[in-house]
Assembly symmetry: C2
Homo-oligomer: 93 residues x 2
């Protein structure tokens, strides 16, 4: 059965999947600012919309838009913000 | 609140979104064969995995893999099948 995850009071929802590419989720974020933690390396690819991202050690926001990917290290926290709903694909490696 | 839709007894789940790109869903299909109906034109893009698709009037299956898009007309039924879990982005226009 496909598992749906909810975070931040339902403002971020994702569906888990696993196939030959690995273990991943697809999800949607409501507009807002969020801080996530990682337990693996994560490859986050924007599927729709624009996401601003501040990775550990960074002091400025970087925009990522549809089709772009950023990589987050294992066991860190990182911040994102969206001014509209954003869809993403997250691969855990 | 982000809306989660379930189809085929939970074997297909999606999350709806709307932003400057339009109205869309991201979703995951369990392996299996499904027939969907459309009420708008749909641009279906594979986010992860491989999907075989048979559009109206076609008699053979066509493979679509990660990053590839197929377009489905309004008010038709079409068939898909997946041998592994597949993630997709569907834009309604």
């Amino acid at each position: 059965m496909l598992k749906v995850n909810e975070y931040f009071g339902g403002n971020v929802k994702s569906i888990a999947l696993e196939n030959v590419e690995g273990v991943a989720t697809v999800g949607v974020m409501e507009s807002g600012e969020y801080e996530f933690g990682t337990s693996t390396i994560e490859y986050m690819t924007i599927t729709s919309g624009i996401l601003e991202v501040m990775l550990p050690g960074e002091e400025t926001w970087t925009f990522y838009s549809k089709g772009e990917t950023f990589v987050v290290a294992k066991d860190v926290r990182f911040k994102v913000k969206a001014s509209q709903q954003v869809a993403y694909y997250c691969l855990y490696v």
